[in-house]
C-alpha cells in the first residue's frame, strides 16, 4: 500500500513539470506584453529596453523558462508586474478562499448528489425518479454564474437572508458554494443512480432478499457501499469540471480567490501571476484526483490487496 502511494506521488513530479512547460509556452503565445502597460506616456524605446532587460524578457524563451522554473520550485514565483508584489504572497493570500469554496462545493455535490441518486434508484421509473433526475440535470444545464445570480436575486435581494457579495464568515460562503456545488451534484446523482441500478441486478442482492433482509438495510448497507466506488472515481476525474465553476463564481460574488486573481491578471497581461495561478489550479485538480485514487484503492479491498 505505502509503496503504491509512494510510486503515485513520484508520478506527480513529471506531471508538474509538463504542466509548467505547457502553461509557460501558452502564456508566451498571448499577444501584447505587460511592459507596454507599465510604460508611461512619453517614454522612449530605451526605457522600454531597460524594462525588458530588468524583467529578463529579452532572453530566449527556454532560458526564461529555466530561470523561472528554478526560482519557482524554490518558492520564488516572481513579482507581479502590475501589483509590484511577490506572486507567492498573492497566491497564499488568495488560496484559502478558493480552497474553502472548493471544499464546501464538493461536499454539497457529494451529499446532495448521493441523496438524489439513491432516491432515484430506489424509485426507479416512477415519477419520483423522473423528478429527481430532472433536478439533477438542471444543475448541469445552466452555467454556475447564472445560478449564482439567480440565488443572489432570491436569497440576498428578495429575502435578504444572506449577503449579496464579499467575503467573511460562513454566510458569505453559502450561496457561492451552492452555485458551484449543484453542477457537481447533478453529476454525482446520475452516477450514483446508474451504479446502484447495476449492483441491484447482481446475484448477491437477490440472495440478500431471499434471506429476508429488509429493503432499507440492503440499499444502505450493501448496495450503496458498493455503488459509491464509481462515484468516488468519477468525482476525482471531474474535479476540474466542478472547480472550473469557481472561477466565474468568484467574480459573481466579488470574492477574493485564485480564480478572480487569475482573471484580473489575464486582462492586464500580468504573466507571472497568470502562470502561477494556472499552475496552482491545475495542480490542485491533479492532487485532488490523486487523493481520490488513494482513497479508492484503500476503500476497495480488492484493489488494496493488489498492492499488498
Amino acid at each position: 500500500m505505502w509503496l503504491y502511494i509512494f510510486r503515485r506521488t513520484l508520478l506527480l513530479i513529471p506531471i508538474f513539470f509538463v504542466i509548467t512547460v505547457v502553461v509557460f509556452s501558452l502564456i508566451h503565445l498571448v499577444p501584447g506584453d505587460p511592459i507596454s502597460s507599465l510604460l508611461g506616456p512619453g517614454s522612449t524605446l530605451d526605457d522600454r529596453d531597460a524594462l525588458l532587460i530588468a524583467y529578463g524578457l529579452d532572453q530566449p524563451l527556454w532560458i526564461q523558462y529555466l530561470r523561472w522554473i528554478k526560482d519557482f520550485v524554490m518558492g520564488d514565483m516572481g513579482q507581479s508586474i502590475i501589483e509590484k508584489q511577490p506572486v507567492a504572497d498573492m497566491i497564499f493570500y488568495n488560496m484559502p478562499f478558493t480552497l474553502r469554496l472548493g471544499l464546501l462545493s464538493l461536499a454539497i455535490s457529494f451529499f446532495v448528489g448521493i441523496t438524489l441518486g439513491i432516491i432515484s434508484a430506489v424509485k426507479k421509473n416512477t415519477i419520483i425518479d423522473y423528478i429527481s433526475m430532472i433536478i439533477a440535470l438542471l444543475g448541469v444545464t445552466v452555467p454556475a454564474f447564472w445560478l449564482g445570480l439567480i440565488l443572489i436575486l432570491i436569497f440576498a435581494v428578495e429575502l435578504s437572508w444572506l449577503p449579496v457579495s464579499g467575503s467573511g464568515g460562513i454566510e458569505y460562503l453559502i450561496l457561492p458554494a451552492i452555485s458551484v456545488g449543484l453542477g457537481g451534484a447533478g453529476l454525482v446523482a446520475r452516477i450514483t443512480r446508474v451504479s446502484m441500478l447495476e449492483i441491484y441486478n447482481q446475484d448477491f442482492v437477490l440472495l440478500l432478499h431471499a434471506k429476508g433482509i429488509s429493503q432499507n438495510a440492503i440499499v444502505i448497507k450493501h448496495i450503496l457501499r458498493n455503488a459509491i466506488m464509481p462515484v468516488i472515481t468519477i468525482l476525482g476525474l471531474r474535479l476540474g469540471f466542478i472547480l472550473g465553476g469557481a472561477v466565474s463564481i468568484e467574480i459573481v460574488f466579488g470574492r477574493p480567490g485564485i480564480g478572480s486573481m487569475l482573471l484580473t491578471a489575464l486582462f492586464r497581461r500580468d504573466y507571472p501571476v497568470v502562470q502561477a495561478s494556472l499552475i496552482f489550479l491545475t495542480m490542485a485538480v491533479i492532487i485532488g484526483a490523486f487523493i481520490t485514487d488513494i482513497i479508492y484503492s484503500y476503500a476497495d479491498p480488492r484493489v488494496r490487496d493488489l498492492y499488498k
Binding site: 438542471l138 445552466v142 452555467p143 454564474f145 445570480l149 439567480i150 451504479s195 468519477i234 472561477v247
Partner: protein, 293 residues
C-alpha cells in the same frame, strides 16, 4: 403464419429500429422535441423574431415583460424575446461547430493511439489525460486570451478544450476491436492501415462518441455562456445567450428578466440535449457510463 415468420425474418434497417425504440422512451422523446424546436427557431430566427434583434428604443429601456414585449426589454430598449430567438441560432451553431471540432480531433488522436499502440499510444494518451485533468474553462480562457475575444475564438477554444473525452472513448473502442477477426481478414486482403482505421474501425466504434457528442453540445453551450460572461465571448450587439446574460449582469437589480429568460432558454435547450443523449445510451446500448456524464 408463414407470412408472420417472413416478416420477422425481414431485415429491419437500423435507423427504423432506433426510431422505434426512441418512440418508447418518453424522456428521450421530450429531448428530441426540444432539439427540433431549437433547430426550427434557429433556422427561422429572422422570420420568427417579433422585432429586429438590434432595434434600440431608448424610450423603452429595461421594461418588464408586457404584451408589446412579451419578455421585456434590455438596457437599450431592445426586445428580449427577439434577442433570445436570434441567440438560439448563435448558441446552437457554437455548440454544434465546436463539438464537431472536438470530435474530429478526438477521432484522430484516439484513433491513432488505439490503432498503433505502444509509444504513440503512451504519448497521445498522456497528452489527452493532461488536457482532461485541466478544467476546460481554464484552457478555453487561455486560448481566448491568445487569439482574442470573439465568437470564432470561443468556438475554437471550446473545440480545443473538450476533445480529450472523445479521444479516450474512441481509443478504448478501437483497442477492443482491432484484434477482431474481421479486421484481421481485411488486413490479409491487403488493406492499408489508413483504410482499416478510417473505413472499418472508426465507423464501428463511433456510437459511444455520438452519444457523448449529443450531451457535449449542451456542455459547449454552457461553456460559451461562461466565457461570454467573463467578457471573452460574442461581442455586442451579437445576441448569444451568454453575451446577453453578461451585459445584463450590470442591471441585475433593475431588470432581472434580462438574465433570467436567456438562462431559462439555455436550461431547456441543454436539458433537451441531455435527455436525448441519455435516451441514446439506452437505445444504442452503449457502455460508456463515464462519457455520458
Amino acid at each position: 403464419m408463414s407470412i408472420d415468420y417472413q416478416k420477422t425474418k425481414k431485415h429491419k434497417s437500423p435507423l427504423k429500429v432506433l426510431l422505434k425504440r426512441l418512440a418508447q422512451n418518453k424522456m428521450g422523446l421530450a429531448g428530441v422535441v426540444v432539439i427540433l424546436i431549437l433547430i426550427f427557431v434557429a433556422a427561422f430566427a429572422h422570420i420568427l423574431e417579433p422585432y429586429s434583434y438590434k432595434l434600440q428604443d431608448i424610450s423603452n429601456m429595461s421594461q418588464p415583460p408586457s404584451l408589446t414585449h412579451l419578455l421585456g426589454t434590455d438596457e437599450f430598449g431592445r426586445d428580449l424575446l427577439s434577442r433570445i430567438i436570434r441567440g438560439a441560432r448563435i448558441s446552437f451553431t457554437v455548440g454544434v461547430v465546436s463539438v464537431a471540432m472536438s470530435v474530429l480531433i478526438g477521432l484522430v488522436v484516439g484513433g491513432l493511439a488505439g490503432y498503433f499502440g505502444g509509444k504513440v499510444d503512451l504519448i497521445l494518451t498522456s497528452f489527452a489525460d493532461l488536457t482532461w485533468s485541466m478544467p476546460s474553462i481554464l484552457i478555453a480562457l487561455l486560448l481566448v486570451a491568445i487569439i482574442g475575444p470573439g465568437l470564432e475564438s470561443v468556438v475554437l477554444a471550446i473545440g480545443l478544450s473538450y476533445w480529450a473525452q472523445y479521444a479516450r472513448l474512441i481509443r478504448g473502442q478501437i483497442l477492443s476491436l482491432k484484434t477482431s477477426v474481421y479486421i484481421e481478414a481485411t488486413r490479409s486482403l491487403g488493406a492499408s492501415d489508413f483504410v482499416i482505421l478510417v473505413k472499418h474501425l472508426i465507423p464501428n466504434s463511433i456510437s459511444p462518441v455520438i452519444v457523448a457528442a449529443t450531451i457535449g453540445v449542451g456542455n459547449a453551450i454552457v461553456l460559451e455562456a461562461t466565457l461570454g460572461f467573463l467578457g471573452m465571448g460574442a461581442q455586442p450587439p451579437t445576441p448569444s445567450w451568454g453575451a446577453m446574460m453578461s451585459s445584463g449582469t450590470a442591471y441585475l437589480f433593475i431588470s432581472p428578466w434580462v438574465i433570467v429568460f436567456p438562462g431559462i432558454a439555455m436550461m431547456i435547450t441543454v436539458l433537451g440535449f441531455n435527455l436525448f443523449g441519455d435516451a441514446l445510451v439506452d437505445i444504442m446500448d452503449v457502455k460508456n457510463r463515464e462519457s455520458n456524464l
